[in-house]
Amino acid sequence: MSSLTPIAKNLWTEEAEPHLIGGRLPSGEIVFPMPEGDAAAGVEPYPLLRKGTLWSFTSQEFRPKSPYEGPGEGPHDFKPYLLGYIELPGEVIVESLIVDAAIGDLKLGMPMEFVIVPFNAVHTTFAFRPEKQS
């Protein structure tokens, strides 16, 4: 995994326990992702919470067309994946891949935690997974 690079720059913080980077508007509202270009004027980068609750979820059972750059070569080695929205309390609801779970494990409102995972042969990406009981 050490040879993999993030799918995008400045999407999450570079630290032992990374945070997704959202934006704080002058009004105080938190948005995700951090706006770019002229839209970023007056918006402060804002590290988002690492824990939240599941707002909705679904599965992706067929291989998306371009611009999808997921693992594998084509339809023959496509593995369905899960995705959903995670509500970060008081901040924003972010869309994310969901890992370490089966569709039947997922329930609205369940605790979820942030994680960086390998995505394809060259990149890592962000995801959420059901919070591990310690």
Binding site: T58, E61, P67, E69, G70, I93, T125
Partner: protein, 381 residues
């Protein structure tokens, strides 16, 4: 503003037509609409139309005739048809023109639509990681809705079963074979909880509507249906729409609710007055949620409505009488106008095997599309 009527309606059958371009399907529909109204192309004063992937609509004049009319190209996603109709209506209502054309057509590749993140102002990673699919949005929206309001998977299946049953009775539909509930529920999953038969597919087709002032309609002795009102709305703050990497924790409004409310208020009628409705059903869940967003029932009541068959052709409020997007497929530029075409046919009593009984007087149509647009048209006989 004066009243505006639809006096001609034409359609090229939806589905797949090898060897005929999207624009040619549009021209086919225009010629049918002209014949229906008893008009020549040279009679039309102005035109509005569009397609998402079959080129500019104004090129149709090559085939229809170089009459020098003003022809405005409309590109408004799934609301292209609704926007064309609204523009044509305003052109006639203002008194600038007596006869206007609203048309839309398309011809899409097989498989789900793929969108370009940059054209929606989104970062590349959103598409690269596989989260920018319209089908996912509808699944995510209905998944939450089902759990919040107690909608069952069976009800999702009943919506699709009805669509194919109605499509089997419709000349212009693509899917003309009934599919039973078990087959629908047990079909391969696309995006949980939605199976293959619960999604519409990109398709081909063309629709044309000819609008006339009341004076012109009477002069021609045409069989017209009045446009009681049209409303087009884009998204309000904090709404939840297609292609959003982040949603506000504050719950916002919905473009469909805004368009519906404005259309009803402007028409001076309410949901209880509607006799037949065409609601955007890109998938089964959309029809269910749009029943409530358009004011026809409370959230959660759909479970009982479907169980009792209230949205069947013989029910209290027939919904998607031609099989909707599920049975007709979705050629983006034509889809919204197909709904209006279907209401025109129903209100004129030309529905054939799918005719709503009891001489329906009020027809309602609704489209929804990325990035959060809605158009509602109410017709009155």
């Amino acid at each position: 503003m004066s009243d505006v009527y639809i006096i001609g309606a034409g359609i090229h059958p939806f589905g797949r037509t090898a060897g005929r371009s999207g624009r040619e399907q549009g021209v086919f529909a225009v010629r049918q609409a002209l014949a229906d109204a008893g008009l020549e192309w040279s009679d039309i004063g102005c035109a509005y139309g569009g397609s998402a992937s079959s080129g500019a609509a104004d090129i149709m004049v090559n085939e229809l005739g170089l009459t020098s009319l003003p022809f405005v190209n409309v590109a408004n996603g799934c609301a292209t048809g609704g926007s064309s109709l609204a523009s044509a209506k305003y052109a006639v209502a203002s008194g600038a023109f007596d006869l206007a054309l609203a048309t839309g057509f398309d011809k899409h590749d097989r498989g789900a639509f793929n969108a370009d993140p940059a054209s929606y102002g989104l970062p590349a990673w959103y598409g690269q990681t596989g989260m920018m699919l319209t089908t996912q949005f509808f699944a995510l929206k209905i998944q939450r809705y089902m759990q919040k309001y107690g909608i069952s998977r069976k009800t999702l299946g009943l919506v699709a079963e009805k669509a194919f049953r109605n499509g089997a009775k419709t000349d212009h539909a693509w899917r003309r074979t009934e599919v039973d509930l078990d087959t629908i529920l047990n079909a391969p999953m696309i995006n949980d909880p939605l199976t293959k038969f619960m999604f519409c597919s990109p398709a081909e087709g063309g629709v044309a509507l000819i609008l006339a002032s009341e004076r012109k309609m009477r002069e021609l002795g045409a069989d017209g249906v009045k446009i009681a009102n049209i409303s087009v709305r884009s998204r309000p703050p904090h709404s939840f729409e297609v292609f959003q990497a982040g949603i506000s924790v504050t719950e916002g409004g919905k473009p469909t609710e805004l368009a519906s409310k404005a259309a009803f208020e402007g028409a001076g009628i309410g949901p209880e007055d509607v006799d037949v409705a065409q609601l955007q059903d890109t998938e089964s869940g959309a029809e269910i949620m749009h029943m409530a967003e358009n004011g026809f029932c409370a959230d959660g009541d759909q479970e009982q409505w479907l169980a009792e068959g209230r949205t069947e052709i013989g029910g209290r409020l027939p919904v998607n009488t031609d099989g909707g997007c599920l049975a007709c497929g979705e050629p983006i530029g034509a889809s919204g106008l197909r709904q209006v075409y279907e209401n025109v046919q129903q209100l004129r009593g030309r529905g054939g095997a799918r005719q709503v009984p009891g001489n329906p007087k009020i027809g309602y149509s609704h489209v929804y599309g990325a990035p959060g647009l809605s158009a509602v048209a109410i017709l009155e006989r």
